[in-house]
């Protein structure tokens, strides 16, 4: 077994036993990246010397691939956009500080849809990322680089971010575990904002136990992010001990199984997952989340609205691209943004500006926030009856590059991950099977706000009941 194949837990054990060093671990990843990343395209940049120096200075530390919107001091942070070409982060995001103080080092920066807007990583302005299980297909998105790196053994584990499904859907496509923590569980300071009321950083890993270890390392209160409460971070990995599905009440939200456009193989894999849970002693309960059908509409008002405000900072003044065709300040804004942003970002800025504009605010943004309350209440009522929800993660397996051309069709790919993001609860994708063509498919588990311990335990027990899912990889 090569070192790059290891997960966090195995790497930590090997390091503590002195079987290898952090430098050897990083060297192994670098050689793997040299060998196959030309085909996959997971990484945008990899400061090899910097990573090796960090590994040398931190013996025992495990390298983590970083989604390219999380600031690491002295490294680029492009957010997959031309507008941040040449930008060098002046500081560490809180999650990066937390990584460093908990036995991890950042190593390599992975691709993403521009400003995390997308579900295929095709919106990256800086490169194509391919699914390691089918190179003609997308890795999902927006954390597609993170998922491809984990699924392709191009890293030990990665950080991604999830706004409407950007950790869970690519994890499902690339056979990884992906956890979207509850809103507020992990600091957003230093993470380039897309939709501030939704964004969360989370682990993308090769096992549930690894996700528990990495989540414990990054989570917690941060003075620099007022939305992180003081609640102590549980010892997630220790609490996984003895995880079982026996007696666990698992809700099956009927609205999720009634949608059209549901791939039959995904449906089959999800049904098999449900049967495995039942066989492992879980009690299945049908539940209803009646406002599910409005979640997509609410999301595509709230997320672009917040994005349009957040992305106003890219104006060519203090950092980022500045047009050399500007003649005055107004044309400097207009042209710098026109030249720097890609089409999907432009669409969402316009959509967001529209729903916030005078005369439309109440009908769109104001109303969407109220419907969001109703969506949250649906989850509250469901979690009064059950411990966790099981749903498909994405209605389809990984699709081909260029297959989804219409923006609205692409948006609908996230219909299973968006409601829980709006509700602010925690959710995860866990590998569950593969299609007959060998494409990985994950299922989604959802638990209430700050119920990560419960979520991880359910995922761990499910992972044990499922066994290793290992469809044939192309790298």
């Amino acid at each position: 077994m090569e070192l790059y194949e290891l997960g966090i837990k195995a790497a930590q054990e090997g390091l503590s036993k002195g079987e290898f060093t952090s430098m050897e671990l990083v060297e192994s990843i670098i050689s793997r990246v040299h060998a196959v990343d030309g085909k996959v395209g997971a990484y945008l940049t990899f400061d090899e010397e910097g990573a090796l120096e960090l590994a040398k200075a931190n013996p025992g530390a495990v390298p983590i691939a970083i989604k390219d919107l999380i600031n690491v001091s002295g490294q680029p942070c492009t957010c997959g956009s031309k507008i941040l070409k040449g930008y060098v982060s002046p500081y560490d995001a809180t999650v990066v500080k937390n990584l460093k103080s908990n036995g991890f080092i950042p190593a390599g920066r992975v691709n993403m849809d521009e400003f995390a807007m997308g579900s295929s990583t095709e919106n990256s302005a800086l490169g194509v990322t391919r699914n390691p299980y089918a190179l003609d297909r997308v890795p999902g998105g927006s954390s597609g680089g993170s998922a491809a790196a984990v699924g392709g053994d191009l890293c030990i584990a990665a950080l991604g971010t999830d706004t409407g499904g950007s950790i869970r859907q690519p994890a499902s496509f690339c056979n990884c575990v992906g956890v979207k923590p509850s809103y507020g569980r992990v600091s957003r300071f230093g993470v380039t904002a897309f939709a501030s009321s939704l964004d969360q950083v989370g682990p993308m890993t090769k096992s549930v136990e690894d996700a528990a270890i990495l989540l414990k390392a990054i989570a917690g209160h941060d003075d620099m992010d007022g939305t992180t409460p003081l609640d102590a971070v549980p010892d997630y990995p220790a609490l996984l001990e003895g995880a079982t599905l026996k007696g666990v009440k698992i809700g099956l939200p009927k609205e999720y199984f009634e949608v059209s456009g549901f791939d039959p193989e995904v449906k089959r894999i999800t049904e098999e997952a449900i049967r495995r849970c039942e066989a492992a002693g879980a009690e299945l309960v049908e539940v209803s989340l009646p406002h599910t059908e409005y979640a997509m509409a609410v999301y595509y008002i709230i997320a672009p609205a917040e994005a349009s405000a957040n992305l106003a900072r890219f104006d060519g003044v203090r950092y980022g691209h500045r047009s050399d065709k500007a003649v005055d300040v107004m044309s400097l804004y207009m042209k710098s943004r026109a030249e720097g942003f890609g089409p999907e970002v432009k669409r969402r800025i316009i959509m967001g500006t529209y729903v916030l504009s005078s005369g439309y605010y109440d009908a769109y943004y104001g109303r969407a926030q109220k419907v969001r309350t109703l969506i949250k209440r649906d989850f509250d009522e469901a979690f009064a009856k059950v411990d966790a929800l099981l749903t498909p993660c994405s209605p389809t397996p990984a699709f081909r590059h260029g297959e989804l051309q219409d923006p609205l069709t692409m948006y609908l790919n996230d219909l299973f991950t968006i409601p829980s993001a709006l509700a602010g609860v925690c959710a995860a994708s866990v590998p569950s099977g593969a299609t007959s063509a060998g494409l990985p498919v994950g299922v989604q588990f959802i638990c209430g706000g700050f119920e990560e311990t419960r979520l991880l335990k359910v995922c761990k027990a499910f992972e044990e009941a499922t066994g290793r899912v290992s469809p044939r990889r192309e790298v």
Partner: protein, 99 residues
């Protein structure tokens, strides 16, 4: 709001985003179909429902108002597209003023 039509040229101007004619022609129907889709929320009865601003019910997070070290000036200016001394350099803003 039913039947409202997004004017992409006007809104992009509000967003300080210059679009080419090709982009306007591409985005106009795309955004119309997205706007039409999201208008679905008008069906929902939201009378008496409080808006949800964040992913978690939150109260204000207060802290003592004490000076803490912030980013070093040189670091803050290091990514400036154009600077003069300790300042960001921009084209003239006030019309008629001497440049």
């Amino acid at each position: 709001m039913a039947g409202t039509k997004i004017d992409v040229a006007y809104v992009s101007d509000l967003a300080r985003l210059e679009l080419t004619e090709e982009e306007k022609a591409l985005f106009q129907p795309q955004l119309e179909s997205i706007v039409k889709y999201v208008e679905k929320i008008s069906e929902v009865d939201v009378d008496g429902v409080e808006p949800m601003m964040h992913g978690r019910a939150l109260v204000n997070a207060f802290r003592e108002d004490v000076v803490r070290p912030s980013m070093d000036r040189e670091k803050a200016l290091a990514n400036a597209p154009s600077r003069v001394g300790d300042e960001f350099l921009l084209p003239k803003i006030v019309e008629g003023a001497e440049s």
